[in-house]
């Protein structure tokens, strides 16, 4: 497999960037709820909260606490204080990003709030890597979160309402994931583990194939993943085998098959190396999560716990992390609009 040529410009193809001096993920943390802790990735999470309210009075405050703890944990793991961090880039699913705003208030780090729905982790890491490699920051935190109850209340029904969920419905993950992105000189190599680098990014466009089913998010987002992944292959002039794993955020069982079909139609077969965080985070049969996990937290906690572990231990060398987000609101949906989606890809490599 040929290496990518170093080009004069960092801009590659139509939507991608290849960094000349790839920034490094020097620390990561994952905070999750009870159901997530009981899933296949449970033992890998840094903190698990049994109480869905996390000791707070409302779901929204609980989600803020998840963010506060994820940020505190990632700083602790890096041996840093909040004043060492130049920017914090983050977002969540709640209106006006209140979980993030209240969650990071006390850290007093300059904040760049973003909304990418469930693709937020990809978007945050992309922006963080650009800022570090561009010399605009030495260390940044990229984080995101989601809470099942808060998301249900905002987008669907009050918790106690009795209704049935179809097979295609996904389960919003209660969790928060954070990474610190910095120049590689700040990385701690003492324990002999591989250095984790962000080699490049492919930023997604809004992709809307006219789906109007709010209970089938996987199908709504699969086209966005398809177009970003395809663009990544075309921009870099590579084949799927370039990556050990191509990891989507929360397409679930339904979206996964659609993505594979769409890419195959273009001559790209990723059935051998595709993975989906929504599928990995829950055990479908014992946890009754229908089509899989979803939410900003889904891709974030899976990335910071499982994916980074595989890279650090040398099981995988290079992955394309491409979480997807559905950019609808209750208003847009009620007004009869379809579900537009987006996918942000990050090339992560172990050295």
């Amino acid at each position: 497999m040929s290496e990518i040529e170093i080009r004069k410009s960092k801009m590659v193809g139509k939507q991608s960037i290849i960094f000349h001096n790839p920034p490094c993920i020097i620390a990561a943390s994952s905070v999750a709820g009870k159901k997530e802790g009981e899933g296949p990735l449970g033992p890998l999470f840094d903190i698990i909260f049994e109480d869905p309210l996390v000791g707070k009075d409302s779901w929204e405050e609980a989600e803020s606490k998840l963010i506060t703890d994820a940020a505190a944990k990632v700083l602790q793991k890096a041996g840093l204080k909040s004043k060492d961090i130049r920017y914090l880039i983050g977002g969540d699913l709640l209106g006006q990003l209140i979980a993030t705003s209240f969650g990071v208030e006390d850290l007093e780090i300059p904040l760049i709030g973003i909304y990418g729905a469930c693709s937020t982790m990809g978007e945050a890491m992309s922006l963080g890597a650009m800022m570090v490699e561009g010399g605009f920051a030495d260390r940044v935190i990229a984080l995101t979160s989601s809470h099942f109850a808060g998301a249900e209340k905002q987008f669907r029904m009050p918790l106690d309402y009795g209704n049935q969920r179809p097979y295609s419905a996904t389960w919003t993950v209660t969790g928060s994931g954070a990474v610190i992105i910095a120049d590689r000189k700040y990385a701690n190599r003492s324990n002999g583990e591989a250095l984790i680098l962000i080699k490049g990014v492919t930023t997604g466009k809004i992709v809307d194939y006219g789906l109007k089913d709010s209970m089938n998010m996987g199908a709504a987002m699969a086209p966005a993943a398809y177009e970003t992944i395809k663009q990544n292959f075309e921009d870099l002039n590579i084949k799927p085998e370039y990556y050990d794993k191509i990891i989507t955020g929360d397409l679930g069982y339904v979206g996964k098959n659609i993505l594979l079909d769409l890419l195959k139609e273009n001559g790209y077969d990723i059935s051998g190396n595709h993975m989906d965080c929504g599928i990995e985070i829950f055990d479908k049969d014992s946890q009754d999560t229908h089509a899989g996990g979803s939410g900003c937290g889904c891709s974030a906690v899976t990335f910071t716990s499982f994916i980074l572990k595989q890279l650090r231990e040398g099981i995988w060398k290079r992955v394309l992390f491409v979480p997807t987000g559905a950019l609808l609101s209750t208003v847009s949906f009620n007004e009869g609009n379809s579900v537009p989606a987006i996918a942000h890809a990050v090339i992560v490599e172990a050295e």
Partner: protein
């Protein structure tokens, strides 16, 4: 015997609605509206009342029964009080259902908390 009728008729209405829920993308809120309005229309055509008399709670308990009661209330009020009855009869006949749901739900909010799903 009437228990059997209640079970079969009530169950059948629910079974048919289940098909509606599964085959179409109708949300529960819309389905409830369709049921109530259908009941009111069937009541207006004089179909629902004899049906309810025969099937008992099997026709009375479902929301279609609620809709039929709404119309009957309006009809009785119009018979008794004329024009103003059109505005009076609906809420009067549904008063027990609506106020009990409102009052008991509010009182329930004093004692219960929203439960996280698992």
């Amino acid at each position: 015997m009437e228990y059997l009728k209640a079970f079969l008729v009530g169950g059948a209405i629910c079974g048919v609605v289940q098909i509606l829920l599964d085959k179409t993308k109708l949300m529960p809120g819309r389905v409830m509206v369709i049921l109530v309005c259908t009941g009111a229309v069937l009541g207006a055509f004089g179909i629902y009342e004899p049906f309810a008399k025969w099937a008992g709670a099997g026709a009375g308990v479902p929301l279609t029964g609620f809709g039929s009661v709404l119309f009957k209330g309006v009809k009785d009020a119009v018979d008794k009080e004329g024009f103003i009855g059109i505005f009076k009869g609906g809420f009067t006949s549904s008063s027990v259902g609506i106020s009990s749901a409102l009052i008991i739900s509010y009182i329930a909010s004093w004692f219960f908390k929203a439960k996280m799903k698992s």
